[in-house]
């Protein structure tokens, strides 16, 4: 393996690495917020919101990620306010992931026994108070493992930014490999950069899960 590629092009690798980190963090926050709202829509008794939530999840998770990104890349420019590849890619990634996160959160909330809601409500707590103090703290424990998976997927999926010139790790790797003709070596180092992000996340999720498990 040719380590000179890594040392010679370290600046480009870092620039791409930074792009991937930034895009992933923004998409992670965005998808979590959006996913939480959609999850609430999915379980509310307000019919219109429930339909919207269901429609959103079914549409978004049943088309390819690349297509979602295209919607945010070509859609706005057709409407006259073009987004660059980084923005379009990050928004697309957030929207795509939010559908899966919504489902994970919804499943977690549904898995909390019905008696918990009944006990809290019959003591005079409002629906919101019950959610905040009784249901969500229990749901989070059930949601962490699937949420961790989604976040790991999100980081890997951020490579989709390459297609719309989103200045991520894969994008810079493509240009390094065209310059050096050492395609395989170039991408091995890319894999290492991804692992630097995903392995600690994976480990962190496991530790957090274990800590919650121990508590009660």
């Amino acid at each position: 393996m040719d380590f000179s590629i890594l040392t010679d092009y370290f600046g480009l690798y870092l620039e791409g690495f930074w792009g991937t980190i930034l895009s992933s963090v923004l998409a992670l926050i965005g998808s979590f917020l959006l996913g939480s709202v959609i999850a609430v829509f999915r379980i509310t008794t307000v019919k219109g919101l429930r339909w919207f939530g269901t429609g959103y999840v079914e549409f978004v998770r049943n088309i390819p990620l690349l297509l979602v990104v295209y919607i945010f890349y070509y859609g706005p420019s057709a409407l006259g306010f073009p987004l660059d590849g980084f923005k379009a890619g990050t928004i697309g990634l957030a929207v795509y992931t939010s559908a899966f996160i919504a489902e994970a959160i919804r499943a977690g909330i549904m898995a909390v026994p019905k008696g918990q809601m009944e006990a809290a409500r019959s003591s005079g707590l409002s629906y919101i108070q019950t959610m905040m103090h009784v249901i969500l703290p229990q749901a989070i424990k059930l949601v962490i493992p699937p949420l961790g998976n989604q976040f790991i997927n999100l980081i890997k999926n951020s490579s989709v930014l390459t297609i719309v010139a989103g200045m991520d790790l894969m994008y810079f790797a493509d240009s390094i490999s065209t310059e050096t003709y050492r395609t395989f070596d170039t991408y091995i180092f890319v894999a290492v950069f991804y692992l630097v992000l995903t392995l600690p996340l994976s480990y962190g999720v496991r530790v957090w899960e274990r800590r919650l498990q121990r508590k009660y």
Partner: protein, 242 residues
């Protein structure tokens, strides 16, 4: 205190409650018995609107339960409820289980709420478990915590939905003891149970339900010695003969 007037309830095609008329006085202990599926739990759950009614009138402490303008959370403050499966919050310590509603609903300070909680834990005999998690307690202890949790809101009424049905036999006694004390102190109670001994000893009035109807209601002495209805006699001979 609690007034059912011609209450009907349907679950789709299924007629769960049929023309229920029931009046519970302040300080009265009413025990509801009957075979499973007879609608006794459903009737109990109507009182704090965990179940809605299809038609008829239901008032608690003069307030109409099923009305849009009724603030249900305010009404529920006055009605404690104890469930068959305890329904303690597993992620909260015993003390925090008890103080949650007093802090959030009554607006008590944490210190005040904890003082009240300790008073009631003392009363149900498990003050030493205040800082344990529910999973570290036996079923009987959990149910006593659930009763303390209900009492900490200082309700006017306590509802019990088969509070001993999920307990090991040797733990039934400790829960019934707490309920007996509560009854003696004049708490208004509606108790759905299969414990005939408790009904006989503690109830002011026993209600027998079958197939969604109140078949018979009487003072316990009369209810157990000489029930009027044939259906009641059959039921009693089945549950008392073993």
């Amino acid at each position: 205190m609690i007034d059912f007037h011609q209450v009907e309830k349907h679950y789709g095609q299924f007629h769960v409650l049929k023309t229920i008329d029931l009046h519970v006085q302040e300080g009265e202990v009413v025990v509801v018995v009957g075979p499973s599926g007879s609608g006794k739990s459903t009737m109990l759950r109507c009182i704090n609107r965990l179940e809605t009614i299809t038609s008829g009138g239901l008032t608690v402490d003069g307030i109409t339960v099923n009305e849009r303008k009724t603030d249900i959370n305010k009404l529920r403050k006055e009605i404690g409820m104890v469930f068959q499966h305890f329904n303690l919050y597993p992620h909260k310590k015993v003390i925090d289980n008890i103080t949650l509603a007093p802090i959030k609903v009554l607006g008590l300070s944490k210190a005040e709420a904890e003082k009240t909680a300790m008073y009631y834990l003392e009363k149900v005999g498990i003050a030493d478990k205040a800082h344990a998690y529910p999973s570290q307690l036996s079923g009987g202890q959990q149910q006593r915590v659930a009763i303390a949790r209900g009492l900490a809101m200082k309700p006017k009424i306590m509802l019990f939905d088969e509070p001993t049905s999920a307990l090991d036999p040797e733990m039934v006694g400790e829960v019934l003891d707490v309920m007996r004390t509560l009854a003696k102190e004049g708490m208004t109670m509606v108790v759905v149970t299969h414990e005939m001994g408790f009904a006989k000893e503690v109830a002011d009035r026993v209600i027998f339900m079958d197939q969604g109807q109140i078949v018979e209601e009487a003072e316990p002495a009369q209810f157990f010695a000489s029930p009027r209805e044939e259906r009641t006699r059959t039921f009693l001979s089945r549950v008392l003969s073993h």
